[in-house]
Amino acid sequence: MSLTTGPGHPHQYPGRLIIVEGIDGSGKSTQLQLLQRWLISQGHTVFFTEWNSSKLVKETTKASKKNRTLTPLTFSLIHATDFADRLFYQIVPPLKAGMIVLADRYAYTAFARDVARGCDPAWTRKLYGFAIQPDLAFYFKVPVDVSLGRILSGRTSVKYYEAGMDLNISGDVIDSFTKFQTKVLTEYDRVVDEYHLTVVDATAEIDEQQELVRGVVTTMLTEYQPRGSNGQTQVLRRRDPLPSADVAEPQG
């Protein structure tokens, strides 16, 4: 029995899957939030899911990240486990129900990050062989120094694994972050070519990016039959509530 899902095999569900990718500080999450508000205002039913959020795996990942016991291999596998759980419980059901599913990060995050950590590219792609192909995948491209600036303006420090400190690239967190995320960017470029992601210049103004995103989404949705919003005024999601980011209201 060969896999009939996975990149290269469009899904047959009535819903639509839109995903965003990019390094931390690329602004992809902001754009996704703006997109979801706009889609709801257009009368669609939207379900949101994000990377590393499955209840099953979250505590283990959190604890082992804190203890710094994850290696590139176990880091990759534990995130794949999280993804598999979410695909089954959070992504496929709303797609089958005809909803629009928005995913903050997807399998491509693994192809970029895990490979930058030294995992075999072919093995990593095979690992995610069960993943459904998204209907639309955006890649928010940003230089490392811009992403670092944005991260540090929102927090006091860069996180251990985010900086690739587990790879012993450098003793200095900022230097390590720069070198590691540069590698991740190189892998993302490969992913863009391989899987034809839509690239967005993430250094452009927020509303400019959003306009582009909405345009592409509108085109993709032309053959989509919405199942009615049922008066939906908030995004459907299944995860622990996070403090809401200060997001600019969509213009128009």
Binding site: L3, T60, L73, L77, F130, N168
Partner: protein, 198 residues
Amino acid sequence: MVETGWTRSTLMSNLIELAKEGNTLTRDTFGLLYATDLADRLENQIIPALRSGFIVLSDRYVYTAFARHLVRGGDRDWVRGVFGFALIPDAVFYLQTDVASLVPRVINSKGMDYWESGMDLHLGADLYDNFCAYQQRLLTEYEAMAKEFEFQMIETVGRGIEEIQEDLRHRIEPVVRRPRKIDPAGLDLKGIDAKVER
């Protein structure tokens, strides 16, 4: 000598216990949990022991994951690909049995549990029927893998513990006594963290 056991990694054992209790595991998630557990044990226990010249005894290995995945209708190529990081054992000993022998053994020990009875597959009207059908399917998978991967077969049906142990020791001896040069460069480290090398 070092012993390592299925789902006993420091990283994953709590999670796997909890997940099993919740009965919400899907086939693919189960496979990935096993893979994460094995990867953790491989990197933290097995490889360091092998490098130091220890003999490592592993209670279960990748073949358990393959069998459990396949009987659930999983994709063969996928699960084998996921475990691509695993070292090839020097020897695999398969303790052959049949369902008729398994039943009293399980009933007299910890009893049939949900997962061991393949209840997620709904193969029968109750725990017992499920158990028998599920274990038979597993046995069929194991027998097929035994041929493919050239397991060393040890018959357990109708034999006492001491007899089986004699047999096992007899078969293990040549493997253990085989001269070997400890050469880290010869180990297959594809996909494994380079940090282990340091």
